[in-house]
Amino acid sequence: MGRLAARLPLVGLLAAFGCGGGSSSGKPNAGKPAPRTVVRNTGSDTMVNLAQMWAEEYRRISPNASVEVSGGGSGVGIRDLAQGIVDIANASREITASEKAQALKNTGKTPQEWIVGYDAIAIYVHRDNPVQEITFEQLAGIFGKGGTIERWSQLGAAAEKDRIIRASRMNNSGTYVYFREHVLAKQDFKLGALGMSGSKEVVELVGHTPGAIGYSGMGYKTAAVKFVSVAAKAGAPAYAPTFENVRDKKYPLARSLNMYTLGEPQGETRKYLDWILSPAGQAVVRQAGYIPVAAGQGQ
């Protein structure tokens, strides 16, 4: 009796799992055991929603392919690609020479770039903030090291909360890298910015905080925030991050959304990329709030 009791619980637990697994193989789905292919897709947080939408749509077109999507940042995706543990890396920035070399060293293949859409980095402020336009110089004064702009009144705006709260990203973010390169001229960020871990979090923080300003992908706009038009130079015309302005390259903070594969993609990965670049795939880009690669496509 004692012996039996000692063995019961473990056996019971194992049996419970065993049944869970075993009974399912007899389910009707077992009738179509077509080999399932998994496409692994990791990277940019800016692109993770877009990538998820593609994956969800693609399941309808190719039911035997399953696309795994995860975020983490452009740097994470490219690093995983360089280690050969993903099939496609998403990046909202270009791959660097050293990352390319790393991938070649580890896997013997050179990453190949696929431009799958365009995005604008929008400058977000709270809905009630009166600021309409901002220049690169002013942005550098707010975000950059040594910048002296701390209050909205310095921009001539009478905001409800005068002190500027800066919502930024972390350095694994392609958006962060892009902003630093293009707005701050590769200078460092001023200390004291809130480093948010996701694109959506930046916009959410700005939506909750009247004195806040933040940068994030244009696809993340909500009703609680508004876009500020951006001018590359003082005196130059400022443009809002609209579809037309990005397409016509008038908006100064636009960038390409890239996917990287190791060498020439094969099999399901190839099919997936071809579908992404097809009108059906590009329609999803538009739906996600970004700009399709060829103007007029995916309307």
Partner: protein, 314 residues
């Protein structure tokens, strides 16, 4: 003031004194008052433990109500993660918990038995005990980094359910070892001594007396393992969990162990931080499913435990 026997002067005449012999004096009243205060104060603290739990459950249920339905459990995320259900995440969590339990339970329980029943007090045992205690104190994010280095890259498992489960197993091992040791420790030494005196070997005693009497405590450790493995996000987010993976709704075996999977805890994190225009109720409903999952697992083990405890001999 003073006990009744102290002197007649404080108590008046003879018959009065006899009548008041057992009446409460100031001292007993004070003692009783202190006891009452202690009882209610401590009782309030005990109630305060239950209160947050009830509040959390009530809050979650109220906020999650608009989305809760059977379909939320059996469907896959739809409408770009803003609708549908959490089936792939629920099954993913089940996979992770099961695989990690399959690895951690035997190792942890057997190691616990060795440490409590066989090991002598020497430098090796002390080193192992120290390692267990330190392992229990390692933050889960550090386990995650270890998992990436050891399982994902070095062992070549890639980001996969296997790598994530092994990471979870390492994280939960100390819980199982410690609770196994304590459960065994709770079996009175006299039981063992009686058996040894009858000529039973150590192993016979463990098999027939010690384990049956400590199994409920060991199960408690396994329950804790399940809850921790199901709820922790850090160890899995770098080792095998994805933002989204397309699977058929309602299938029980959508993943192979070398795939990555979705998991409830991580899904909760992503719908909160990453999905745009997600309905307010979505994260709450996901949390309710996660708590429900742990609850179902736990109650199965608790029922088993009480059945076994009924057989306890002391």
């Amino acid at each position: 003031m003073s006990p009744p026997e102290a002197g007649p002067s404080t108590l008046g005449s003879g018959p009065d004194r006899a009548a008041n012999l057992f009446a409460a004096t100031d001292l007993t009243r004070r003692k009783l008052r202190a006891q009452r205060i202690a009882k209610y104060a401590f009782g309030a603290m005990a109630a305060a433990i239950v209160l947050p739990l009830l509040l959390i459950l009530a809050y979650l249920l109220v906020r999650a109500w608009p989305m809760l339905s059977w379909g939320f459990i059996t469907e896959v995320p739809a409408n770009f993660m803003r609708g549908g259900g959490v089936w792939p995440a629920l099954v993913g969590t089940l996979y992770l918990v099961t695989f990690s339990l399959l690895v951690a339970a035997p190792i942890g329980v057997l190691a616990g038995i060795y440490l409590n029943e066989f090991a002598r007090d020497n430098w090796f045992t002390r080193a192992v005990n120290l390692a267990v205690i330190n392992l229990a104190g390692v933050p889960s994010i550090v386990h995650a980094l270890f998992g990436v280095g050891a399982f994902v890259i070095f062992a070549g498992l890639g980001k996969s359910i296997l790598a994530a489960s092994l990471t979870l197993a390492i994280m939960t091992l100390p819980v199982i070892i410690v609770s196994t040791k304590e459960a065994l420790n709770a079996v009175p030494m006299a039981f063992r001594q009686a058996c040894w005196n009858l000529g039973a070997s150590r192993w016979q005693v463990i098999r027939t007396i010690v384990l049956p009497n400590s199994i409920s405590g060991i199960l408690t450790g396994l329950i804790l393992q399940v809850s921790r493995a199901a709820g922790d996000t850090a160890p899995i987010m770098f080792t095998g969990v994805v933002f989204y993976m397309a699977v058929e709704p309602g299938t029980l075996l959508p993943y192979s162990p070398t795939d990555q999977c979705m998991a409830l805890a991580y899904h909760l994190y992503t719908v909160t931080t990453q999905v745009q225009d997600a309905p307010e109720a979505l994260p709450y409903a996901t949390a309710v499913v996660l708590i429900g999952f742990v609850f179902v697992f736990n109650s199965a083990a608790i029922i088993l435990r009480t059945r076994l405890r009924a057989k306890k001999k002391w």
